[in-house]
Amino acid sequence: MPLIYYLALSALLFSLGVFGVLTQRNAINVLISFEIMLNAVNLTLVAFSQFFQLLKGQIFVLFTIGVGAAEVAMALIIIFVIFKTFKTIDLDEIKLMRG
């Protein structure tokens, strides 16, 4: 398939992820959208890697996946802590600022 199809698809998926991040109120939904974004980027990288027949892209993706996993774990922990503090994970309610 021409590279551009992959790129376009990836752009679409990324935009979907952005849409999710911007609109969702549940923290975990936001996390899910974020993962979608991440995957879209990975797709771009792998597509380019195949296009140029270089391995750099794939190795990069390898690391991205790994770090993404670690980051999800951390995010989850933070969500737990927030849940304990604010008794909710509604992003609109979680703020210390007043006014």
Binding site: M1, Y5, A11, V18, L22, S33, N39, N42, L54
Partner: protein, 160 residues
């Protein structure tokens, strides 16, 4: 053959992604996320990244999604959906659309493949990983370690 697969996988990925985001039940969202990831893994296979597809399935489905599922199973209160206001939907739609258009502006028509195939193998990955990108490899290990330690600390309430 290849293009058919591309289109099928493409449709699957888009639909699952969209539903994963806008679904009302967190459980279903997570399962849909898993499906999404699987479709991406399919893409990887199409793009000669077999090892990567393997890693993707293992880690994403076997690690991340499972983790999240455990999380919401253990704390059911998390499984709550909040609806955003209409304006939020519109604004978000607008912004993401804008973003998409902008991204498209950078697309140029690339030909099918630049170089001859056959260079992407598992062995090549391995050798690269342990020579040129060794530092990144090691740092990654450190990151994992730090994350584990950090989680333990936070779980214990910040004290040792």
């Amino acid at each position: 053959m290849e293009s058919v697969l591309f289109w099928i996988l493409g449709v699957i990925s888009i639909i699952t992604a969209f539903n994963a985001i806008t679904g009302k039940n967190l459980f279903y969202n997570l399962l849909l996320l898993a499906s999404f990831v699987l479709s991406i893994a399919g893409f990887y296979l199409l793009l000669e990244a077999d090892f990567l597809a393997l890693v993707q399935v293992l880690i994403y489905v076997g690690g991340i999604v499972v983790l999240l599922l455990f999380a919401i199973m253990l704390v059911p209160k998390l499984n709550v959906h909040f609806t955003s206001s209409f304006f939020t939907w519109v604004g978000g739609l607008f912004l993401s659309l804008l973003f998409f258009i902008l991204l498209n502006l950078f697309l140029e028509a690339f030909p099918l493949a630049l170089y001859e195939k056959g260079h992407i193998t598992l062995g090549a990955i391995a050798s690269l990983l342990f020579t040129e990108y060794f530092l990144a490899f090691e740092i990654f290990g450190v990151i994992l370690l730090i994350v584990m330690v950090g989680i333990v600390i936070i779980v214990r309430g910040g004290e040792f």
